[in-house]
């Protein structure tokens, strides 16, 4: 692989296009009719996706460095800000683009807001995600982090008419703000020590040095802040609150892209800045990251089983998979990273399809409670198939791209001498997919109890969490926007109450199917494993390319070695099928009336874990403070 300095206009265009679109949408959408707003937003999102796909192709084999404002480094010192485009980053940016486009298509006439503000926010979210994935400057990474966060806070609280989304947004905003502050303090510490804000230059300055207190704390603060975004235990408590109450198209963006960005930052910062420290050891840092990952995966899976609110259940499923990605990333090998990135893509598409499917159910049946929806899946067959398929993909159904990623991850764990990790991953995946399949079985087949086996039914009875005030029918003049239909029961949001007679719009049914189809297509693409590795594992070459100390392009290390024995891949397929079957069995046990005693016992046994998730912001911030301190202590042990 060669690193080149690029002046191609595609690189800045990938952020300029969505930003310009968002600015025009925010300022001038009152000039446009509603169909034009939707169309322009979708077009801008698709254009951004195309640009990032071009970047993947352009940077495969030779990652590109692009300097903004024309400021090249001089005298070995970086002056301006650069983008360092590699296939991994461009791939994540493309995923963001695909999911944003799907969410915007799904939104067609979903948000009846009088102006295009929601579209502007989604496009800014997209632009910030692209910047996050491509940037080579540490402070620019922080600014993109905060921009993703601010747009996310605003989008979460969209259903401002009910307490749950508002509380979810507050918890989200407070904890992620503190995460951002933590990142900024880490940036300040690193700048004070190394005199630069450029990732490559900082890495160069730290290479070969011993990690003293300042560097350890800088690492802990940076990584801790990013792990808040990535919803890793114990920084995760905001995630079910936010995902459980945000509007569905927004959940798609969050589940598929936002939290994965946090993990991307962790590995990017580790790779380019901290991996060259002398005396720091791979195996101990690996143990720290793996510990957090395993904890997150297991807690997420167990909590997912305990949920009856569908969005909250999917939130915990998302969290569990984030733990699995952290396991892959935390192995600190290119193979592990490759596996994790394929999983991110495949699972991101599947999770988004699941959320969109739940959205259709919510739209038609006005509820997201598994118990209340029991048996009411008649007439929503396509959505049922989508949800079941999505859950099976998450369980590792071959030949989806997720199963390819899972195979790479298992190989990486074997190579690192940790084969038992595979069992943990399998367990989490089986439990979380089993939860979704249980819900599908209850809703579409009418199996299972009509009451929850838990002594407290929690929030499922609150009317607020079911309704979505997505039609703000009062515009500037205070007139109702969508009246005139007679003979139909109306609730206070102006929606029709009886949804059974209404057809589901195609714009809501097709996007999840399209996402699953993309996942299948990618999985059938041969050789995708080889392209999935990160390009910046050779830190010295990256630094040399950025600082310009070598003219022209610099050859770096070889590609990722992917074991390709047919026996191994057949074994992998069998394991994946076994996981899928096990997930179906878990769902079956969960629905079987004869297993009531077992379920009651499990519910009682995990009650303490559920009570910890109190939804109170004071608790969540306390856990955050404790988590930062814990991470610092562990990093001290790992880096010394």
């Amino acid at each position: 692989m060669d690193l080149v300095v690029s002046t191609s206009a595609v690189v800045p265009a990938s952020v300029v296009v969505p930003l310009a679109g968002a600015a025009l949408m925010a300022g001038f959408s009152w000039l446009l009719p509603r169909w034009a707003r939707d169309l322009i937003a979708i077009a801008v999102a698709l254009a951004t996706t195309t640009l990032t796909l071009i970047l993947i192709a352009a940077s495969a084999g030779h990652p590109m460095i692009y300097w903004f404002s024309g400021w090249r480094p001089s005298g070995g010192m970086v002056i301006g800000i650069d983008y360092a485009v590699c296939p991994l980053g461009a791939g994540m940016a493309s995923l963001a683009g695909v999911l944003a486009s799907a969410a915007l298509v799904y939104c067609w006439r979903y948000f009846d807001s009088a102006r295009g503000r929601h579209h502007a926010l989604v496009l800014i979210f997209l632009a910030a995600s692209v910047d996050f994935c491509l940037t080579g400057d540490l402070f620019n990474l922080f600014v993109a982090f905060e921009l993703v966060a601010v747009t996310a806070f605003a989008l979460t609280g969209y259903n401002a008419g009910h307490p749950a989304p508002l509380q979810g947004a507050i918890n989200f905003a407070v904890t992620n703000s503190l995460g951002g502050m933590s990142v900024l303090m880490g940036v300040g510490f690193l700048y004070a020590r190394t005199g630069s804000l450029n990732l490559a230059q900082i890495g160069q300055a730290l290479a070969g040095r011993h990690a003293d207190g300042l560097i350890v704390v800088a690492f802990a603060l940076l990584t801790g802040g990013f792990l808040v975004k990535a919803a890793v235990v114990p920084f995760h408590f905001w995630l079910p609150d936010a995902y459980g109450s945000a509007p569905i198209p927004v959940c798609v963006l969050f589940a598929g892209v936002m939290s994965e960005l946090g993990l991307f930052a962790v590995i990017r910062v580790w790779d380019t800045v901290f991996s060259g420290l002398a005396g720091g050891s791979g195996p101990r840092m690996r143990a720290v990251l793996l510990g957090f990952g395993i904890l997150t995966a297991v807690v997420g899976a167990v909590m997912a089983l305990a949920q009856i609110q569908l969005k909250r259940m999917l939130a915990f499923v998302t969290m569990s998979h984030l733990g699995i990605y952290l396991i892959g990333v935390g192995l600190l090998t290119p193979l592990g990273l490759a596996g994790a990135s394929l999983l991110v893509i495949g699972d991101g598409l599947a999770k988004s399809a699941l959320f969109l499917g739940v959205g259709v159910v919510q739209h038609q049946r006005a509820s997201v409670s598994e118990i209340k929806l029991r048996g009411s899946g008649r007439g929503l067959a396509v959505t049922g198939v989508t949800i079941v398929l999505g859950a099976l993909v998450l369980a590792g159904l071959p030949p989806y791209v997720s199963s390819a990623g899972h195979a790479l991850l298992v190989d990486a764990a074997d190579q690192a001498g940790l084969p038992w990790v595979e069992i943990v991953i399998a367990l989490s995946v089986i439990l979380s997919s089993g939860a979704v399949l249980r819900a599908a079985g209850r809703i579409w087949l009418g199996w299972g109890d009509s009451e929850s086996s838990r002594p407290d039914t929690g929030t499922a009875d609150d009317p607020g969490e079911e309704a979505e005030d997505r039609s703000d029918t009062a515009d500037a003049d205070g007139k109702l926007g969508a009246n005139g239909l007679t003979g139909v029961d109306r609730d206070q949001d102006g929606r029709e109450r009886s949804g059974r007679l209404r057809r589901v719009p195609l714009t809501m049914v097709l996007p999840p199917l399209a996402l699953l189809a993309i996942g299948l297509g990618l999985g059938l693409t041969s050789g995708i494993e080889e392209h999935a590795a990160a390009a910046f594992s050779d830190r010295a070459a990256y630094a040399a390319a950025v600082l310009g100390t070598h003219g022209g392009s610099i050859p770096t290390g070889g590609r990722v070695v992917v074991p390709a024995s047919p026996a191994a891949s057949a074994g992998g397929v069998l394991t994946d099928l076994g996981q899928v079957l096990a997930a179906l069995c878990v769902a079956g046990i969960a629905l079987d009336r004869r297993a009531v005693a077992l379920r009651r016992a499990l519910a009682a046994g995990t009650g303490w874990l559920r009570r910890l998730h109190s939804g109170l912001v004071g608790d969540q911030v306390t856990w955050l403070a404790a988590g930062l301190a814990l991470l610092a202590a562990l990093s001290e042990a790992a880096l010394h």
Binding site: F139, Q167, I170, L178, A192, D241, T459, R610, H613, V621
Partner: protein
């Protein structure tokens, strides 16, 4: 002098978080969050400070101006202030709606999202 200067940063951050954790009023919570935010601003500015230095503005300087302080850190602090203002404004808007919908501003009384 260093101890006091840098100790202020740690103190402000911890006091701000303490305020957030023990708050009974959302407006108070938002202000405590901005106290913690100011700790990060102060850290940046202190890293960039030079004793006896003047602001990085090169106009109407005295005859022997001495060194200038770090302008990069000041630019970063400016950005941080804008970010903090944006988040504060969003949180206050959320607080307004919470008060209308849930009838309370006590964060510990908000029970809409729990298991």
């Amino acid at each position: 002098m260093s101890v006091l200067a840098y100790g202020v940063v740690a103190w402000l951050f911890l006091v701000g978080i303490y305020g957030v954790v023990t708050s009974r009023n959302l407006i108070h919570l938002v202000v405590c969050l901005s106290v913690a935010q100011s700790a990060t601003d102060i850290l940046l500015l202190e890293i960039g400070y030079r004793t006896g230095g003047h602001a990085p503005v090169f106009v109407s300087l005295p005859a022997h101006p001495g060194p200038a302080v770090d302008a990069v850190m000041q630019a970063l602090a400016l950005t941080d202030v804008v970010v903090g203002a944006a988040v504060t404004a969003l949180l206050l808007a959320l607080a307004v709606q919470v008060h209308k919908r849930a009838g309370t501003l006590d964060p510990d009384a908000l029970r809409a999202t729990r298991d």
